[in-house]
Point group: C2
Chain length 327, copies 2
């Protein structure tokens, strides 16, 4: 039942009904209570769409996962789901709904379509994928936009992310401190997050005078598994592998186990993210943790500041090495 119907029932105008339900002070106390009682009795629930249209505010935050570099990747990715869980909890606590979309950036105005749809008050983007340019362009004019990802000098869009260069460096230093000598990076070096992890990894190796290889592969589990298997079959057995993500690291573990290689005896493995699963693989996975609880809080905090018109800047969550059995 809508406001106009209730107005007819109560013998007043919709204007008065609207004001009564909104608790507007200018409406007479008696009338207000009468209308409210009637509203309860007759199941009146105002149409949010109409309200949003008029007020130009929706109470919803967009949450988008752009899938440029892995068109077959699904929302079931544990890293994304975990971050999503934290973000959702925080946003709901603050009274926002979440409009979730998975976008495959084919048309190059995909981001414009999202922000100009009028359906959201702000947007959280998880991962820059290969859409750096698009994001920059939109961020120039659309303020309430926060991205999980890497920060480049001079960029205009607001990012929250872990320091991937530092994380990659930590991985390499940790492995080298164990005396590992033949380092291998496994993953897709194209997306900025992964590129930074590799850069830090390579820099630390270089500083220590240790050589390293790069095994570039798409991030899908079977692809990683196959790439590592083939690499091993060629007789190249590294004594340390740094995988671009935990999910990739788990495929690496599997490929090594299938090749009968001892972990960490022969080859150490270090992952990235510290997804919940990482503590429970066997052997359990040494990894670089991104603290998503903190990251999510930073994202939401910055986004709400931007929505309120206040300034807010990028921030970095420091990565932490979590040593476990795999290396």
């Amino acid at each position: 039942m809508k406001l106009a119907d209730l107005a007819a029932l109560a013998g007043v105008s919709t204007a008065t009904v609207s004001r009564a339900l909104a608790g507007h002070p200018s409406v007479n106390t008696g009338t207000r209570e009468r209308i409210r009682a009637l509203a309860r009795e007759h199941d009146v629930r105002p149409n949010q769409l109409a309200r949003n249209l008029r007020l130009k505010s929706t109470g919803a935050i967009g949450l988008v996962l752009p899938l440029g570099h892995a068109k077959t990747q699904h929302l079931t990715d544990p890293f994304f789901l975990s971050l999503l869980g934290f973000l959702a909890d925080l946003l709901v606590e603050r009274g926002y709904d979440i409009l979730l979309s998975r976008v495959i950036p084919d048309a190059d105005d995909w981001l414009e379509r999202v922000v100009d749809s009028g359906r959201i008050d702000g947007l959280l983007l998880v991962g820059q994928s290969d859409q750096f340019g698009v994001i920059e362009r939109v961020a120039q004019r659309y303020r309430p936009l926060v991205v999980w990802g890497a920060h480049r000098p001079g960029q205009h869009h607001l990012t929250i992310g872990s320091d991937n260069v530092a994380g990659g460096r930590m991985a390499a230093e940790h492995l080298i401190a164990q005396g590992r000598q033949r380092l291998l990076f496994v993953g897709d070096p194209a997306p900025p997050e992964f590129a930074d992890r590799l850069a830090g990894f390579a820099a630390a190796a270089h500083d220590a005078g240790v050589p390293h290889d790069v095994l570039a592969t798409p991030m899908m589990p079977e692809a990683v598994n196959a790439a590592v298997a083939e690499h091993l079959a060629r007789g190249a057995v590294p004594d340390a592998i740094f995988a671009a993500s935990d999910v990739a690291a788990m495929s690496v573990l599997r490929a090594l186990a299938e090749a009968g290689i001892d972990i960490p005896g022969t080859t150490a493995v270090v992952g990235y993210d510290d997804v919940t699963l990482a503590a429970h693989t066997s052997p359990s996975l040494t990894t670089i943790r991104q603290d998503l609880a903190i990251g999510a809080e930073l994202m939401v905090d910055r986004l709400l500041k931007r929505i309120a018109g206040e300034p807010a800047e990028s921030a970095i969550v420091p990565p932490v090495l979590i040593p476990r059995q795999s290396g």
Copy 2:
């Protein structure tokens, strides 16, 4: 930029612009192309809210997790996140957006508010929690509503769920076949899903002439852990525990390990759900799998049927016992 602005630029009415962009056949081909070119050039993106209001359809599906029995439970729950992942993938493939809310059912019209908000074309509810009555009431009049949960004879709302009674029964039979004699159910027996699991468990135990106990506890990890620890401290050491969920089962594993009890030598543990983690705990967790990929497909399929005005009925996903190390 909105349609009216473009109309002014093109020297036509908004009506014509609307029809041109929608590809309505009655508009002159020349005019249509001229308007479309202008639209591309000037970044015209119609306001979805206004469109939705007029058309009374939104292209969004609500996804709600009611948290009646665990007011502190979060969206980070792995079972929910996993189902959410599957649902989101399916819905996005079909062109729907997802409006995600976590609801704490305090006011008893929480569900009415969601379905009458005008913001969604249909609703998926994950879990009935303790809100069976509310859901029944709304389902009487609101058709596009699909619930993940238990099916009661004579109920009106459409549910997809695993056969929890059969699942509970399988757990008990599996344990009894190993010669286990002192069975214990751990969990909150109030929500219908859990009640069914307990009912099947109890029935199978009764059929086999084996006694069983019930340790009722809230489902939060610390609560389960504490409840089991206290139970053990009272000297009652069961030789088999059936936990209402995998997450609860993991707390049970921890409590047993902390009490120095051998698993599965002294006490076997069986969980429910088969979350990804269950295969990776140590010892790995024997559990009753709910196939969420299939469940999600059934939910989306039924919901879209209902939205299209077609009839659709409840369905059941058969549970499967996954034997692992814990029992």
